[in-house]
């Protein structure tokens, strides 16, 4: 259809004229761009603190520059390695369990014949995603408690001794990872389920004609059908491997298990804000971010080499 656009619209206008023409669009975006500058870009600029002996009362130009001193101090601190070990331990364990289970769960949900039951299971499984970690930590403590927790009651029913789950550091990683699985299992299946629905049905028909059974259909049609989604999510989770945050560890942890619950972000929080050592805390955050970005690019690089596509 030919549109009747006035001819002068096609003429290239000067920048000033364009700005005046688009003044509403500017009013609608510039204030928010400034907010982003304040709350996202200024903190990135704050990374300079990692190279200073930062004193809050002084201006930027009066700060004392110390080079890599904060980083050297960090790499000499045994607590840093403990935090690193816990961070990597929990994130790799989380990747093994938290990444594979939603795929299996999605494949199983897809096998359900009864649509009502399927929708009910889905609705229930999404539910914990919307609950805060504060509530979840309360539930975990309650479910694992030694006097009235159902897990220990089951253990006792089978004649074993009750376990003080929350007081033993050897269980802490697993508890965090399983609590996370409980919270996000259903939610993380959404994306796989929608990928499964997008698979061309004629592929299944063709495979059936060739005599494929249920396992072969799953193995040779469904899994290849969602493999690109799986790989994209895998690359992204590898990028986030080190950035597991502090929330779960802080809420589920307690002094008895602190040697297993101390992660990098908590370490930064403890030294950086708790002890007012801002430069040291920033140095930890810088290492954390840089390693995260490096991991993301490495994973993406491998992915690109194999498929020629890029996730980021």
């Amino acid at each position: 259809m030919e549109r009747t656009i006035p001819a002068e619209k096609k003429v290239k206008k000067g920048l000033w004229r364009t700005l005046v023409d688009q003044k509403y669009l500017l009013f609608m975006s510039v204030p928010f761009a400034i907010l982003v500058f304040i709350f996202s870009y200024i903190p990135i600029w704050g990374w300079t603190m990692a190279f200073q002996k930062y004193r809050p009362s002084r201006s930027f130009f009066e700060q004392e520059w110390v080079g890599f001193d904060n980083f050297v101090k960090m790499f000499q601190d045994p607590n840093f390695y403990l935090a690193l070990k816990n961070t990597l331990g929990m994130s790799i364990l989380g990747l093994l369990i938290g990444f594979t289970m939603p795929i299996i769960f999605a494949l199983m949900l897809n096998e359900l014949r009864n649509g009502m039951f399927k929708r009910f299971v889905q609705t229930v499984s999404y539910l914990p995603h919307f609950v805060s970690w504060v509530v979840v930590s309360g539930l975990v403590y309650k479910m694992l408690s030694t006097d009235d927790g159902p897990v220990n009651q089951l253990i006792a029913m089978f004649g074993y001794e009750k376990v003080q789950f929350m007081a033993k550091s050897e269980y802490f990683w697993l508890i965090v990872v399983l609590a996370d699985l409980w919270k996000e299992l259903g939610w993380n299946t959404i994306i796989y389920l929608s990928a499964i629905t997008a698979i061309d049905h004629s592929l299944y028909e063709a495979a059936k004609v060739d005599g494929a059974n249920r396992w072969q259909l799953m193995r040779h049609v469904t899994l290849p059908g969602i493999s690109s989604v799986i790989i994209i999510l895998l690359v992204l989770s590898i990028g986030h491997l080190i950035a597991i945050g502090y929330e779960k560890q802080m809420l589920l942890g307690n002094p008895l298990v602190s040697d297993a619950s101390q992660v990098l972000d908590l370490y930064a929080l403890k030294y950086g804000i708790g002890q007012n050592n801002f430069s040291f805390g920033t140095a930890i955050a810088v290492v954390n971010s840089v390693v995260g970005v490096l991991l993301l690019f490495t994973a993406n690089g491998f992915f690109k080499k194999r498929t020629g596509e890029s996730v980021i």
Partner: protein
């Protein structure tokens, strides 16, 4: 949709098919039980009389039904005010953030906007790199936002993820609508407000749910910035203090004075009633918004 693509409608299911079906149903029932039991247990305990709960053994039905726990938490103490602050930050934060995000999303969707590419990159960068906790903390302190209500709202108003999500929805709307509005003499803001926003209801519902849940559930900003000001305490933070005080000792990170506020120990039933009040608002709305967020997740996933 309701039947599996694996099944051939004409064949009778074989025995191994039946076994697989039954095994899957059993697993699903187990998942449902494991997911629901903690909530039902908390609900039951919250309606059970405190003195009876101590004896233990309450499962999913209250043994001595009472509303006293709820009456107690709503009649005195910090909970009613914290509830009000939580509602206030959720309502205000959601409305303002939704307005800002959709407006910026509209501007980004306009192919003729001068700074389109710059703005898009400028926003995208912040999704990959962030300054981290300590610089953010210092920024908030320097801006004098410590111990203010504003700290709940202002830093989160612009959310890049939702901007991109809403923009990809607007991109799918026919451009002719905007053009005809323009011919009728509407300015860019009027087009956004009168033409675009009403069409964006599904994606706005999704974003609103996510923003509201995020606001309602957040506790860390209260902990970090407003922990010493009970007037600005939120439900999640109150619950966190109560839970942490009774769990095995104190939290490892409480190196500041917050630890001193966490000494009061509440009876189990009261704790569970507070947990329920903190959870219920979300549990009530989310099933109704489910179809929106499933669509929203899929949209976000396809566009990367």
């Amino acid at each position: 949709m309701s039947h599996s693509p694996y099944r051939n409608g004409f064949q009778k299911p074989s025995i191994s098919d039946r076994i697989i079906d039954i095994a899957i149903v059993i697993v699903m029932v187990l998942v449902v039980i494991v997911t629901l039991y903690p909530f039902l247990n908390v609900l039951a305990v919250s309606f059970n009389s405190s003195s009876d709960t101590v004896k233990g053994g309450v499962t999913i039905f209250p043994r001595e039904f009472t509303l006293d726990n709820y009456k107690t938490i709503f009649s005195f103490g910090t909970i009613p005010h914290a509830f009000f602050i939580s509602v206030a930050r959720t309502v205000l934060g959601t409305i303002l953030s939704l307005f800002a995000c959709s407006m910026v999303a509209y501007v980004l969707s306009r192919k003729d906007f001068v700074f389109r590419h710059f703005l898009s990159r400028y926003l995208a960068i912040t999704m990959y790199i962030s300054g981290g906790l300590v610089p953010f903390f210092i920024l908030i302190r320097d801006l004098q936002l410590m111990n203010t209500f504003t700290v709940y709202i202002l830093p989160g108003i612009v959310n890049v993820f939702f901007i991109f999500m809403i923009r990809s929805f607007i991109d799918g709307l026919p451009y002719e609508l905007q053009e005809s509005a323009k011919l009728d003499g509407a300015n860019d803001f009027t087009i956004f407000w009168r033409v675009i926003l009403p069409l964006c209801k599904p994606v706005l519902a999704t974003a609103a749910l996510f923003i509201a849940v995020g606001q309602w559930n957040s506790w860390f900003d209260t902990y970090l910035f407003n922990g010493s000001n009970p007037d600005l305490s939120t439900l999640q933070f109150e619950l966190m203090k109560i839970l942490q005080s009774t769990q095995t000792g104190q939290d490892a990170v409480n190196s500041n004075d917050m630890a001193r506020n966490m000494q009061q120990v509440s009876p189990e039933s009261i704790k569970m009633a507070i947990t329920m009040v903190t959870t219920l608002p979300i549990l009530l709305v989310y099933p109704f918004l489910q179809r929106y967020f499933v669509a929203g997740m899929t949209l976000g996933a396809v566009k990367g």
